[in-house]
C-alpha cells in the first residue's frame, strides 16, 4: 500500500535509502541532513552521522536547523575541533559517504555552491565552499541531493566548488582525489548515476509518475538513460510517517 506523497518526500526517501546500516556519513546541511536522519530512524539505526561542526555519531531526535545545534553535541559519541574533523577524520578517507546538496550540478557531477555568473561580478552570490570540496574529494563515495531544473542541471557549472568527475574519465585520478566521487544524484524527478565509461550522469530510475521527457526538460544537457531504466519504489507508509515526524510541526523544518 502506498500513500499520497510529494516530490520532495520521494526525493528525501530515495536519498535515505542509499545509506546503509553501519556506514559513516559526512552530512551537509538541509536536505542531506533530513535524509540521513530518516535513514537512521528507519533501516540504518547504526548510521554514524558526522557533521563538520565536529560532532561524530550524533543522534538528534529531529533534523537540526544548523550543523552546530546543541542537540548534535549533546547526543554525539564524540565532539572534536574543526581542524580535527577535517584532518583526522575526513582527509585520510575514514568516512564512507559524503552527502551533499548543490545549487548547480553539471553532466560530470561537478558541484557549484559559490556563484551564479562570473566570479568577479556574480548574478547570485551563494554561500561558498564550506566543507564540501574536501568531502567530495575524500569520502569513499558521494551522494548528491538536489531538485532538478534547468537552472540547477547545467551543461557546465559556473564555478567548480566541489569536483565530481572534472571534465571526464581519469580526471579524479589525475588530480589525486582519493575518494570514488559521486555515485548517485537524487532529485525530485529521478535518480542519476555516472555512466561507467563516460562518467556522464544518466538516468537510472524515474520516480513514479515522472516521464523521461519531464526529466529531460529539467536538464540543461542532452540527458541519456542507463541501458535499463527503472521506476523508483514509492515511499512506504513507514518511511512517510517517519519523514513527516522529522519535518513536521516541530519548528525545525527547512524553510
Amino acid at each position: 500500500m502506498t500513500a499520497a506523497y510529494t516530490a520532495d518526500e520521494m526525493m528525501t526517501v530515495a536519498a535515505a535509502r542509499r545509506l546503509r546500516e553501519g556506514q559513516s556519513c559526512f552530512v551537509g546541511i538541509g536536505l542531506p541532513s533530513t535524509a540521513a536522519n530518516l535513514a537512521r530512524r528507519t533501516h540504518a539505526p547504526g548510521l554514524v552521522l558526522v557533521y563538520e561542526s565536529g560532532t561524530i555519531g550524533a543522534r538528534p531526535d529531529l533534523p537540526p536547523l544548523s550543523i552546530g545545534d546543541g542537540v548534535l553535541a549533546d547526543t554525539a559519541d564524540a565532539v572534536v575541533s574543526v581542524p580535527e574533523i577535517f584532518n583526522y577524520w575526513l582527509q585520510p578517507g575514514r568516512i564512507d559517504v559524503g552527502f551533499l546538496g548543490a545549487a548547480q550540478i553539471d553532466r560530470f557531477a561537478n558541484i557549484n555552491t559559490t556563484v551564479i555568473g562570473p566570479y568577479a561580478d556574480p548574478e547570485v552570490r551563494l554561500p561558498g565552499a564550506g566543507g564540501a570540496p574536501e568531502i567530495a574529494a575524500s569520502c569513499r563515495e558521494v551522494t548528491v541531493i538536489v531538485r532538478q531544473s534547468r537552472r540547477a542541471f547545467v551543461d557546465r557549472v559556473d564555478f567548480v566548488t566541489s569536483v565530481g568527475f572534472g571534465s571526464g574519465p581519469g580526471d579524479r585520478e589525475r588530480l589525486g582525489l582519493r575518494g570514488g566521487g559521486p555515485r548517485t544524484v537524487i532529485t525530485d524527478l529521478a535518480i542519476l548515476e555516472p555512466d561507467p565509461a563516460s562518467s556522464e550522469l544518466v538516468v537510472t530510475h524515474l520516480h513514479p509518475g515522472v516521464t523521461l521527457d519531464q526529466a529531460r526538460a529539467a536538464t540543461g544537457w542532452d540527458l541519456a538513460t542507463a541501458a535499463e531504466l527503472r521506476e523508483t519504489a514509492p515511499p512506504t507508509p513507514e518511511e512517510l510517517g517517519v519523514l513527516r515526524h522529522l519535518t513536521g510541526d516541530s519548528g525545525r523544518t527547512r524553510p
Binding site: S53, D74, R125, S162, P255
Partner: protein, 274 residues
C-alpha cells in the same frame, strides 16, 4: 596575563581601524556582543576573518565595518543567504567588499599553522576546484618525500581574535566546552585576543573535556552574559533558531536592516544580545 575589563574598554584597546579581526565560534559560542561593540565603536576598513560569516558578520558588513572578508562559507545556516553580505558583493552596498575565499579545511589549517608558529599549512584539498584561481593565497606544493602534489595555505595570524566562552576566573583563565570549532586556534594564532564569557567566577570547577585557555595566553577577558545570542553557550543557553529565521526578513531590505540595527544595537542599553 589577561586583564578582566568591561567589553567597551577591551574593544577600544584591541580593535583599531584597518585591523584584521577574527571573530570565531562554529555555530556555538559566536561572540555577538563583541561584534555589536565593534559596530557601536564605528570601526572601519577591517579585514574580517571567519570560517562561517554568520549573522554577526552580515551585521558588521551591512554597517560598513569591513573592507575585506576572508571566509569559507557565507550563509545563514539552514535558512538561506546572508543578504547584507550578498548586497555588498553583488552591489557594493554600503561599501565594496573584497573577498578571499577558502574551504573550511583550508581556513582551519591556516589557523593551525598560525597557532603553531609556522608560515603555512599543507592539506589534501582545493585541487580541481575553482578556488585557487581566485586567491593567490592557495598554492600547489610538492611533498619532498613522495613527490605528491598537495595544497599550501599561508598561516592566518589576525591582529585580533575574539571568541566567546562559558566562564573565566578573576585571573583570566577561560573554560570553554561543547562544539569548540577553531576558537582555540584563532586565539593562539592572533597577536591580541579578547574572550567574552557568560560569567566570571572565583574558581573554575574542573569540567571533563573542556578546553582551558590560560590567562597568560589571552589579552583581555570581558563578562558578557548572553553575549552569544542568537547562537548559544552550552550549559547557559540554547540556539535561538527563530531569530535566525527572522533575520532573513530583517536583513533582506536595506532600510529594515538599518532601522533594526539602530534600535537593537546602536541604541545604548538596547543591545540585541540581551
Amino acid at each position: 596575563m589577561a586583564t578582566v575589563v568591561p567589553l567597551a574598554d577591551a574593544m577600544a584597546d584591541l580593535v583599531h581601524d584597518g585591523d584584521s579581526v577574527a571573530l570565531e565560534g562554529f555555530t556555538h559560542l559566536i561572540p555577538y556582543a563583541a561584534g555589536h561593540e565593534i559596530i557601536r565603536q564605528g570601526r572601519r576598513d577591517l579585514t574580517l576573518i571567519r570560517m562561517t560569516p554568520d549573522l554577526i558578520y552580515d551585521q558588521m558588513i551591512g554597517m560598513g565595518c569591513a573592507r575585506r572578508l576572508v571566509f569559507s562559507w557565507g550563509g545563514n545556516p539552514g535558512v538561506g543567504s546572508l543578504h547584507r553580505f550578498r548586497d555588498a558583493v553583488q552591489n557594493r552596498w554600503p561599501a565594496p567588499l573584497e573577498i578571499e575565499e577558502h574551504s573550511h579545511a583550508g581556513i582551519a589549517n591556516a589557523y593551525v599553522a598560525g597557532a603553531s608558529g609556522l608560515p603555512f599549512a599543507v592539506l589534501r584539498g582545493y585541487r580541481g576546484t575553482g578556488l585557487p584561481a581566485h586567491t593567490a593565497r592557495v598554492r600547489p606544493i610538492t611533498c619532498p618525500f613522495t613527490g605528491e602534489e598537495l595544497t599550501a595555505v599561508p598561516a592566518l595570524n589576525p591582529d585580533v581574535a575574539v571568541v566567546h566562552a562559558q566562564r573565566a576566573d578573576r585571573r583570566g583563565n577561560v573554560q570553554l566546552w561543547g562544539i569548540t570549532g577553531v576558537q582555540k586556534e584563532a586565539v593562539l594564532a592572533a597577536r591580541r585576543s579578547l574572550v567574552t564569557v557568560e560569567e566570571v567566577v572565583e574558581e573554575l570547577e574542573p569540567r571533563p573535556g573542556a578546553i582551558v585557555l590560560p590567562g597568560w595566553a589571552i589579552t583581555h577577558v570581558s563578562e558578557a552574559p548572553g553575549g552569544s545570542h542568537p547562537s548559544y553557550s552550552a550549559g547557559y543557553s540554547t540556539r535561538d533558531n527563530d531569530f535566525y529565521r527572522a533575520w532573513d526578513g530583517i536583513s533582506r531590505d536595506r532600510e529594515t536592516f538599518t532601522a533594526w540595527m539602530a534600535r537593537h544595537v546602536l541604541t545604548p542599553g538596547a543591545e540585541a544580545h540581551r
